[in-house]
Homo-oligomer: 413 residues x 2
Amino acid sequence: MNAEIIAVGSEMLGVSRLDTNSLYLTAELNKLGVEVVAKAVIGDDRDRLADAVRAAMSRAEILILSGGLGPTEDDVTREAVAQALDRKLVYSAEVAGWLEQRFAAARRKMAENNKRQAYVIEGADLLPNDRGTAPGQWVEESGSVAMLLPGPPHELKAMFERQCLPRIARVVPKQVIRTLFWRVAGMGESDLDHLIAPVYKKYENPVTTILAAAGDIQIHLRARCKTEAEGDALLAEVAGPMELLLGDRLYSHNGDPLEAVVGELLRKNHATVSVAESATGGMLGERLTSVAGSSEYFAGGFITYNDTMKASLLAVPQELLDEHGAVSREVAEAMAIGARRRTASTYALSVTGVAGPTGGSEKTPVGTMYVGFADAAGTYVAHRQFLGDRQRIRSFVAQMAMDVLRRRILGKL
Amino acid sequence: MNAEIIAVGSEMLGVSRLDTNSLYLTAELNKLGVEVVAKAVIGDDRDRLADAVRAAMSRAEILILSGGLGPTEDDVTREAVAQALDRKLVYSAEVAGWLEQRFAAARRKMAENNKRQAYVIEGADLLPNDRGTAPGQWVEESGSVAMLLPGPPHELKAMFERQCLPRIARVVPKQVIRTLFWRVAGMGESDLDHLIAPVYKKYENPVTTILAAAGDIQIHLRARCKTEAEGDALLAEVAGPMELLLGDRLYSHNGDPLEAVVGELLRKNHATVSVAESATGGMLGERLTSVAGSSEYFAGGFITYNDTMKASLLAVPQELLDEHGAVSREVAEAMAIGARRRTASTYALSVTGVAGPTGGSEKTPVGTMYVGFADAAGTYVAHRQFLGDRQRIRSFVAQMAMDVLRRRILGKL
């Protein structure tokens, strides 16, 4: 069974935006054994979109449209799909009532143009939206189905997961897809591929995909089989040797990000962590606290962006700052010690460095980063030189710092 | 003049890859006044690709294809375009000779399948590739042109810049594109549209696009004209009345994000800011320090995720915590006062709230957020109830806090 995906919106055709909804949708469809064979982005042009919808529904069993369901006249998805299928749009008093209730609950007045969102394609099923005002629609025609979903990713995901996936699963031919989703820290994409390719290249099923982002690498394995047992056996055959090769660089067996894995380790050990951030300016805290329930183990943090704050908030000795500079092994260590002492946390992490683009020197060029760690047993400092722009350097060192914490808790550093 | 872009390759349809070549191509085309009206990604399927090529060339004057020019049987772009135009592929001894030379120069033996790359669509012009083995092709048909470019970005860019741009510039009607890129805080997308639609709806040129994300709204205006002066006059005609309607909610006239705008205000006023973050856990610090040069005005920050830290790091009185709870107007205020005092900053911002999904109560349900502000003149606390998941609530309140700071600096709060 094949699917096509169309993202709607002229803003998606600019120089800065990419349609990332399609990545999520592809992952979910693949899990059901549905292959995505084409994707498109179409501007807010009703005729052009209607043509694209007609062509896609003549080729694929599933068409997913994202965006263009808003209240403004730019939002043409409803009209374009109706036109492609030669159906009418019908005003739904039920949807209008639901929209009015939603606005009333938020104590806001509903704008007149929101009524556009109450038009439903003749014969379509409504897909409720509990995260926004745009209801989705599910419309079938000659053995194909078009799903009209809202553009904002959190609305699209919730609607697709709750409303669409169960319906699709009912019509997709029964096959079992078993997957593994691993994450690896501390090595580059090509080194990793070089290491594990000799194993996975031998197999066409499962399919192995490697995906890299800012110091983090994901490995996806996907086996298609008749039974779960057969799928799991196939996965194990490939996963076993790869696991041996990866060792403790493999930090997640279920796709959880590093902050969740570290959080779980802290929780299990009844331990807490604090952070002292210079170059990352709050990224470590933001990541650690992005996990629900992190208040259980996140003790607190300091964003000390200048020498005065490093000295006054973290008690970094002024002599260290004068002698070695703020970007140094010694200051990273003192920052971690200071954060740990001030918060009485089990562990403390620190980052100091030059994120750039300016501020580099011969001794400490842009990309120089120190990660400090302190616990009751002592301290540890790691140093690396990163390449790239400010954002990339900060992301990489944040990932590295989280991995230092993980390895220390596991006694591997 | 309109363009469409097709990226070819099944690997571009996976869960991890996005076609980024199209962003570069769009930027270059826009500079010439050429509009990109649709983009697609098509797998390695000759018939499907031929259909897409035929449809695109019937609608747009320019079609750019990237990828699928390699030596393997998966590489179907040459065949698909020939099929779409009903032309033959002709073996070019000249290209074959050039390929052999290239391999010889690299002291590598040319594989037999590289000869596939020596086939040229009847009537096409060859586009030399000095960074890879896949030559490009330029083929015209009934007033449209298709450009076949290699997939690797560095090959595509070099070929497009040197071979295609000069040719396109010769045929594009001379026109000038003038743009405005605004950002607005503190209102929802439909309220904003309701407010300014009566102005921009009157104009087809410039085109106005509205785009929303996490409490931030972008407004793009784009005018196509014969001269810069004419374009600017047109923009001013629409922008003037919209500016009056938006008032101080319009925070950026050049697309800069809120953290950059706030940073510039701080710098101009020789002022500094500190943050005290509970629910946002470091997001405010991360955003403020994401701007290069922010060390000039970012004084420091505290991530105080629990009561003990609020009391010990920010000197929030224990009575306040006991009496009102950590999620309260009083504690938000005390956090800001504490951060300002500890860092001696001009301004201080604080956030306390319930990001969820758990931890809510009847008095403070999930999504309850308080933003505190302190300066020499006194304090200010804003309260809002947000909807959505943990990540969304945190993003929204971070944006709100940054806007509180901006408005206070401007004397609007």
